[in-house]
Symmetry: C3
Subunit: 351 residues, 3 copies
């Protein structure tokens, strides 16, 4: 029998300091942009219209920040999380240069943390992954950690290394890939008069709109990102599990939440950082995603008067409207309808 099939790495296959070059670089095109629009209906003008991108000083229309995220993430799955029990969290995600049609993105990861769980069957792996374009410029740099099965329960536990997680990306570390000339930005075309100056810390926004998830859609998305995690695709195998269903890729929910957030945050043209993120509960086909956001911080950017940043918490729910901003119960646990808790930073033009 062939041993050429890749079974994915198990917990004992990882070592702190290990560097992994992930396979399958990916050239992104206008086709990906169309597919992304069809999947989420995103309306942020900088990634919808080349004329608006030009008004922001961009030579060409970039692809959505989160499409870049999904492509960078997707590369890591066959090596990092093919045998994952759960994708536990994100931290320190910093977007660099945008991806433009024609660019090719590759990803490398470094293992920065390992901790076997007390059950002896699984462990937590921390990786820092860096996506770069064909010029070697950083597109995205982020940390994630996943719970991974051991192949052999009797394999010895590695020395525990728990990395210090980066906090929210500092304003001076945010990359702003555009520069808006005075008066060039058109809020009517962008879809909202509310600019950076208009948001306040603690402000909450119910994004009102909602989107029902379909099996074929989350699979189209997840394959577009060349993410190979089996739980998203194999109903035959999932039918034999307790859950009985295909799980929706958490990033699919992130993109829906971001697209829904247009209603209230239309000028948040790009994502500059993913500070932290948790997929609080699983999402399945048939669930309807709602979302709300809270402004965690209103950040000036060093040397910039054309644009500022907002640090946001966006919470997505399933089958639960967000007028009351559902989040956690009395004991601090996520409500069962909460599927996403995302702490991220967006770039918003100033008045």
């Amino acid at each position: 029998m062939s041993t050429k099939t890749v079974a994915g790495n198990y917990f004992e296959d990882f070592a702190v300091g290990q560097e992994i070059v992930h396979a399958t670089p990916r050239t992104v095109t206008e086709g990906d942009i169309a597919m992304y629009t069809a999947l989420y209906g995103s309306r942020f003008a900088a990634t919808s219209a080349s004329t608006v991108a030009a008004s922001m000083g961009l030579e060409r229309m970039p692809v959505d920040s989160l499409l870049a995220f999904h492509l960078v993430f997707g590369k890591t799955v066959p090596d990092i999380s093919l045998n994952a029990v759960a994708n536990l969290g994100y931290a320190g995600g910093r977007f660099g240069v945008p991806l433009y049609p024609g660019d090719t993105v590759s990803t490398r990861s470094t293992v920065i943390g390992l901790k076997q769980n007390s059950n002896g069957r699984t462990g937590v792996v921390h990786v820092r992954s860096v996506g770069t374009n064909q010029h070697g410029e950083t597109v995205l740099d982020y940390v994630r950690w996943v719970m991974v099965h051991k192949r052999d329960v009797d394999a010895p536990a590695p020395e525990t290394v728990v990395p210090e997680l980066p906090g929210a990306v500092a304003p001076e570390d945010l990359h702003v890939p555009f520069e808006i000339a005075t008066g060039a930005y058109d809020t009517v075309l962008a879809g909202s008069p509310h600019l950076w100056d208009d948001y306040e810390v603690g402000e909450r926004i119910d994004h009102v709109d909602a989107m029902t998830v379909e099996e074929s859609e989350h699979m189209l998305a997840t394959r577009l990102y060349q993410n190979t995690a089996k739980v998203h695709f194999n109903q035959h195998a999932q039918s034999a599990t307790t859950i009985g269903r295909r799980l929706v890729y958490g990033g699919h929910v992130i993109s829906h939440a971001r697209a829904l957030s247009f209603n209230g945050l239309a000028n948040a043209q790009m994502v500059a950082a993913i500070n932290a993120g948790t997929h609080a509960n699983p999402t399945f086909a048939g669930d309807t995603i709602y979302a709300w956001s809270e402004v965690l911080d209103v950040l000036e950017l060093p040397g910039r008067t054309d644009v500022g940043a907002l640090r946001l918490r966006t919470v997505a729910t399933k089958d639960l409207p967000c007028a009351d901003f559902p989040y956690r119960d009395e004991d601090g646990r996520y409500l069962p309808q909460v599927v996403l808790d995302l702490d991220y930073t967006v770039l918003v033009p100033r008045r």
Copy 2:
């Protein structure tokens, strides 16, 4: 709580003469063409092959006329019909320059009619919407009217203004964006020997083929057009309504009907006008769309011997084959299986 969320306009928010610049210009690409082909399987050769487009004197292959329609229409939804009860009709739709990959389309609307309904809860709003490309050239100019909820039932009724609706677009007002050199057009590659000269007024064509609609497909389409009407997307909310289902965007049915019409009208390379249109009954996922057409008029175009126009009525049904041309009952009401009655004008090469 934030007041930054857009709730859409209600009946009392409109005033005759009001001009609305719609948000989110949209750059159309080859990716949209591929998505459109995947959604409808359209085979009209001028929008399938750049070689055929070139044989018709077009420098590049344009996007399908109806994709242009959907994009222009989609822009208007957040301002005009987010709170619509029903999209009542179209009139006077005239296509201008085609959209080509790379073009950016924007839409503006003018309110041209207002009439509160006798129930005092809703009213009819007429708008004329104009889509333009990045050079300011008209891509599409059309009138539609929708029934919209009032926010406040006690708001005073506006003065009734019912605009005179344009009739069918006159031959001299049709824009023909191509010019065919003698002998350049190949009917074999186009898929049918039947040219403009071969059609007769009153002729009926059963398009034979049919297409079953899926939830994910109508949503992919409707998001591609950045049409935000909630009834297409939110199953959770729809489950609480009498209908209990997501409604399929009427334009999705128009595109299916047009794609089906290839079988019998393969040389109808472009749509030049939408004279009138009604979504006679709702379409839901699981319905199978059939279509038939009647030739309403055979129109010579001023100064043109290479191309003529056909004014058509295309009727689409759900779960009902069209060999008997199903349409209206004895009392003139649409049969319950009729979902679309579209009066439009196509451009067809001449012998």
Copy 3:
């Protein structure tokens, strides 16, 4: 009533030697590549990254070989198999120049065999179809045979002509559209260290991964290819048949099997030949596709030290993992879960 609708050819409409120019040339774009990636999640690096394509001496990134196959095949359906009972087999398929974004592919067929079945109601039609690009270069040349209904059972049987089917395409007839400079090819980026040199005749590979098929996905794919066979699209009509379901286009399964085969055959960058193929059992939405492959031959290519060929049998199953390489029963019949038996030849870089 109109006679302009095309009903498709019936058995008695074909004559040996008949040449058919198929309608609707098709310009392939980066949009088609994105759609194809979304449908199958293909990860072969030569068709995923322009940087990898360049490392193989290709000026631009070509489209997947099988996307070319589907487009060429799709053109033939309205003329050859609209009234087919079954698509019986493929032989002698030889890929020529790849399709690149912007290319326009057209198809012509020649009838090379006719044999009425003993029941007098159907017959078998053999056609050789040739897809060419806009420069007249051959993209794909293959033979297929289909069982077609007679329109009139009483029509006389034609003289039986059963063509000699080509065997596997010989190594000297394989077209290799790339040339790899020494050291230019990166197996890490390609996703596997296993090159041509590492495969042995008789070696079997379980591709492990699996993919569940959805109604909307096989329809999106089949429309993308402008394949018009009714059985894939019309649930209303299919509900009245014994099967009761829409049938999945066999080529959709071929593409899934090829995408799954990445796990074990990641360096099989292009398909050079389809030697033979059978859709052993029908596939329906909801089925989960698994696949395994056997190396039938390891072929040196004349004058080439950079690349060799592998002749493979890839078998796809539904709802049956392939660790035991399921194939035929004791009597030589395909197991009921086997949906595809494909004998084809791939190009693989050498050490």
